[in-house]
C-alpha cells in the first residue's frame, strides 16, 4: 500500500477498505446489532465507541466471521465478502485482537506469536529462528520478556501485549484492536500508540475500541458511535467534543462529563485507625519480597506500580490464592493461616481477579449462579441459599450495577466484557467482606459505569469496609485512595498518604531503566 496519509486530508478521497451496510446480528432474545452501517478507511485510526453491551465486539465479530449477520453486506475493497471465521478473515488481510485474550496458555510466548506461520528449516519448525523473530517483535513493542517462557506465567497485561504482537506480526491491511489497552500502563499504551501510528502512516486501517476517552482522542481520526446495537453517529474526532460524545453514547442530554466527574468517587474523610488487616513480613519466593501492610477500617489503600511490579502478586498472597512462604497476616487481630482462598474468604477477605475470563466468571453458568457462587461456597453445599433470598439478592445487584441484560438466567459467557466485570464485582460484594481486594475492577468498563463503581467503592469504605484498590490508571488510584502503596520490582517501596498526586507516584516508579528485567523476572 502506498497511500500517502500525510498528504491526503484524512477523510476525503479514499475508498473504504471495509464497508458494512445494514448489519444486524441476533442472538436468542437479544438484538445485538440492528442495521448498522460502518466504514473503515485506509490509513486511519477509527474508534468504535459505545457503552458496555452496545455491540462493539459483536460488530467486530460480525466482520471477522465469528458471527453470521442475519442481514447486511460486508465489502472488503469493494468486493462482497463473508468470512467463515477469524482465520479466513486473516487470510484476506484482517488481523484481529479480540477483547478476551485468545491465546494458548500452555505454549510459549514465541509459539503463540508465530503459531501457524513459524519460520521453517528443512520443513521442520525452526525453534531458534522462532524465538529470535518473536523477541524482535516484542522488542518492537518495548517488551523484553523471554520468548521461550510459557505464556500462562505472565500476567494478563503481558498476555494482551503478546496478542497484539501476534496481530501486528502479519502484514495486514486492516488491524482490529478490541480494548487492547484495558490493562496496560501508560508506558505500554504509549508504545502501542507509536506502533499504531507507524502502521497507520503505512496505510493500514485500524479499528480501535477503548473506554478511555483520553486515549481515543489522542489516537483516533474518526469515530463511530453505537448505542443499544444501533448506529448513532459517525464523526471526525476533531469535530466531536467529549461532551457530545458521551451524550451520544448514553443517549441522554446529561450535563455529561461534568456531571459524571462530579459523581465519581473521592477518597472520603480521614479513615479510621482501627486496623482490619495487618500483614507482617508476608512474602513468597519468586513472587513478592516480604512486605508489611496495614489496612484500616473504612480505608481505601491503592496499589500502584508498573506492569510486573508485583501488584497482583501481592494481592494474591493476601488472599491465599498463592501461599505466602513467610510472614503472618492478622484479621481483626487474629492470626490467619492463609492455606487457601477459602480460608481467606472465611476470615472476611474477598479478591476480585483482574483475569475475569480465566479466574473470574464461570462462563457457562447464569448470572444468578455466578452472583451467588462465592456466598454459596461459603455456606457449604448442604445449605443452598433459598430461592427467595437468591432472587432478591440477584435482582438488587443487577439493578445496583446496571448489569445488562437484566435477565438472571442469561449465561455470563454471553455478556459483554464490561457486564461480566460487573457480575464478578457483585459476586464479592454479596459476601459483605471486611477486606475487599479489587484488581483492576474497572477494566473494560464504560465511563458511566466506571464512575458508578468508583463511587460505590468510596461508599463501601465510608460504611467501614477496607478496600485494596489496584489499577493501572494512576489517576484513579490517587483519587480514590486514602493511602497509596507503591510497588516496584516486586517489592513494596513506599507508602504515600492521601495527598499523594499522580506525579508523586510517577516519580517514585519513574526510573524505568530496569523495568524490562522486572517484567522478565
Amino acid at each position: 500500500m502506498s497511500v500517502d496519509a500525510k498528504q491526503a486530508p484524512r477523510e476525503a478521497g479514499r475508498a473504504a477498505v471495509v464497508q458494512m451496510r445494514g448489519i444486524s446480528v441476533e442472538f436468542p432474545g437479544v438484538k445485538a446489532l440492528q442495521e448498522v452501517d460502518f466504514r473503515l478507511l485506509p490509513g486511519e485510526v477509527h474508534a468504535l465507541m459505545g457503552e458496555n453491551g452496545a455491540g462493539k465486539s459483536t460488530l467486530i465479530k460480525a466482520l471477522t466471521g465469528v458471527y453470521t449477520p442475519t442481514a447486511g453486506v460486508t465489502l472488503l475493497d469493494g468486493r462482497e465478502v463473508s468470512f467463515s471465521g477469524p482465520a479466513d478473515a486473516q487470510d484476506s488481510g484482517i488481523s484481529t485482537v479480540y477483547q478476551e485474550v485468545n491465546l494458548c496458555p500452555n505454549l510459549t510466548v514465541a509459539e503463540n506469536i508465530l503459531l501457524g506461520r513459524e519460520p521453517r528449516r528443512f520443513g521442520a519448525v525452526d525453534g531458534r529462528a522462532c524465538r529470535a523473530r518473536a523477541a524482535e517483535l516484542l522488542a518492537d513493542m518495548g517488551l523484553h520478556i523471554d520468548p521461550g517462557s510459557v505464556l500462562a506465567e505472565h500476567p494478563i497485561a503481558i498476555q494482551q501485549l503478546v496478542a497484539i504482537a501476534r496481530a501486528v506480526a502479519v502484514d495486514a491491511k486492516v488491524l482490529i484492536l478490541d480494548e487492547p489497552t484495558s490493562s496496560l500502563d501508560q508506558d505500554e499504551v504509549a508504545e502501542l500508540f507509536r506502533i499504531m501510528r507507524v502502521l497507520r502512516d503505512r496505510g493500514v486501517a485500524i479499528l480501535f475500541v477503548s473506554h478511555f476517552l483520553e486515549q481515543v482522542y489522542e489516537i483516533s481520526d474518526r469515530m463511530t458511535v453505537l448505542r443499544n446495537g444501533r448506529l448513532v453517529g459517525e464523526h471526525l474526532t476533531a469535530d466531536l467534543s467529549r461532551l457530545d460524545l458521551v451524550s451520544l453514547m448514553i443517549g441522554r442530554e446529561l450535563g455529561a462529563l461534568a456531571e459524571v466527574e462530579r459523581l465519581a468517587g473521592q477518597a472520603g474523610e480521614e479513615a479510621s485507625t482501627v486496623p482490619v488487616l495487618q500483614a507482617t513480613g508476608v512474602g513468597r519466593k519468586g513472587s513478592v519480597a516480604p512486605f508489611d501492610l496495614q489496612i484500616n477500617r473504612g480505608e481505601v489503600v491503592g496499589l500502584a506500580g508498573l506492569l510486573g511490579s508485583g501488584r497482583t502478586e501481592l494481592a494474591r498472597l493476601l488472599f491465599g490464592a498463592d501461599r505466602p512462604d513467610s510472614g503472618q497476616v492478622r484479621i481483626d487481630g487474629k492470626a490467619l493461616h492463609l492455606r487457601s482462598p477459602r480460608a481467606a474468604i472465611a476470615a472476611g477477605i474477598a479478591y476480585c481477579s483482574e483475569d475475569r475470563k480465566g479466574e473470574g466468571v464461570v462462563a457457562d453458568l447464569s448470572i444468578r449462579d455466578n452472583l451467588i457462587l462465592a456466598m454459596q461456597a461459603a455456606n457449604g453445599w448442604a445449605r443452598p441459599i433459598p430461592r427467595k433470598t437468591k432472587d432478591q439478592l440477584v435482582e438488587k445487584w443487577i439493578k445496583a450495577l446496571d448489569i445488562r441484560p437484566a435477565d438472571p438466567d442469561a449465561l455470563v459467557g454471553k455478556l459483554s466484557g464490561g457486564n461480566q466485570q460487573k457480575v464478578l464485582l457483585a459476586r464479592w460484594l454479596i459476601t459483605k467482606p471486611k477486606v475487599l481486594i479489587l484488581d483492576e475492577p474497572t477494566r473494560g468498563i464504560d465511563i458511566g459505569a466506571k464512575t458508578q463503581i468508583q463511587k460505590l467503592v468510596a461508599e463501601l469504605a465510608q460504611e467501614g469496609m477496607a478496600v485494596v484498590y489496584i489499577s493501572a490508571e494512576l489517576e484513579e488510584v490517587a483519587r480514590l485512595s486514602h493511602r497509596v502503596v507503591v510497588m516496584k520490582d516486586r517489592s513494596k517501596i513506599a507508602e504515600l498518604d492521601q495527598h499523594a498526586t499522580v506525579d508523586d507516584i510517577m516519580r517514585l516508579i519513574a526510573h524505568v531503566d530496569e523495568r524490562s528485567e522486572a517484567v522478565a523476572a
Partner: protein, 368 residues
Amino acid sequence: MTSTRPLDRFRSSPLLWPLVALVVLLAANAVVRPSFLALRFQDGHLYGSLVDILKNGAPTLLIALGMCLVIATRGIDLSVGAVVAIAGAVACSSIVGAGDPTSAKAAFVGMGLALALCAVLGLWNGFLVAALRIQPIIATLVLMTAGRGIAMLITDGQIITVRNPTFRTVGAGFLLLPVSILIAVAVFVLVAIVTRKTALGLLIESVGINPEASRLAGLRSRTIRWTVYVFAAICAGIAGLMISSNVSAADANNAGLWIEMDAILAVVIGGTSLAGGRYSLAGTLLGALIIQTLTTTVYSMGIAPEITLVFKAVVVIAVCLLQAPKVRAVLLRRTPRRPARPVSDAEPAAAQHAQTPTASMVEKVAQS
C-alpha cells in the same frame, strides 16, 4: 399464544432428541417384532421385552450416573469396568468363604465388604486426580488395567459360583419389577435430589466449567472432585453386585467388560459435554436406555453380538464428530447463511434442532 409456550420449551429442550431417538428405536423393534411391546403379569411379576431392557440396563445406568458427575467436573473414569469385576469377586469369594454360604448374613457381609473396597478404590482414583493432579484419563487407566488383575487374584483366576438367595435378589429378584431396576431408580432419584435440591450440583458444574475461578470463589474444588470419583466407584460397585448376583457368579475376566464405554456414551448422548460443566441426569437416563435398547435390538434381530461393538463404535464416532465445533459450524452454515435477508425467528432454531447430535446419529444406526 400461551398454549404454545410449553410446547416451545419442550422443542428447545436438549432432551428432545434423545427421547425421539429412544422412541424410534422402540418403534423399530415393535415393527419387526410385534410382541416387543407386550407386557405380561404372572405370579406377581411383570415380564416383557421392555422390562428386560430396563433390567439389563440397570447396571449401565448406575455407572453412567457416577460417570455423569465425574464428567461434569471435567474428569473421566475408565476404571469402572474393573471395579465392577472387583465388586463381584469380593462379594462372591466372601460369601463362598463364609460359615454358611447360603445365609443372609453372609450375603450382607460380602456385599458390604465389596462396596467398602470400591469406596477405597474411588478414594484412590480421587487421590490421583484431585490431589496429585494427574490427568483423569491416565489416572483411572491405572486402575482400569490393574483392576481386573486384582479381581483375578481375589478369585484365583476361577469363576466363583455362589448359591445364596439373599445375594441373588439384588440382580435377579423381583418385587413386582426386577429388584435391580428398583435399585437403579432409587439411586437415580437420590442423586437427583442430593445434587439439585442442595447446592452440590451447582458447585460441581462450576468446578467443571472453570476450576481456577471456582477455587478463587472459595469452592472446595479438590474435595468435590475427590468425592465424585468415590461416588462413581460406589455406583460401579453396586452395578458389579447386580451383575454377579444375576448370574450367581463372579467372572473376573468378563464382568463389566467395556461397560465404561457404554456409560460414557450414555452420558454424552444425554447431552453432557465431555468438556465438563453442565450435566443432565435425565439425559443420562435416556442415554443409558438408548444404549441398552440398541444392544437388545442388535441381539433380537439376530445380528452377531460382535457387531454390537461396531454399532457402538459408529455411535461414538458420530457423537465425537457432532460435538466438534467445526463439523457443527459446517452443518449449521448450510441453512442460516443467506445474507441480506432477515431470517425469521423460527428458522435458525429449527435448523439447530436438525443438527442435534443424537438424532442423526441414532437414525444412522437405526437404518443400518
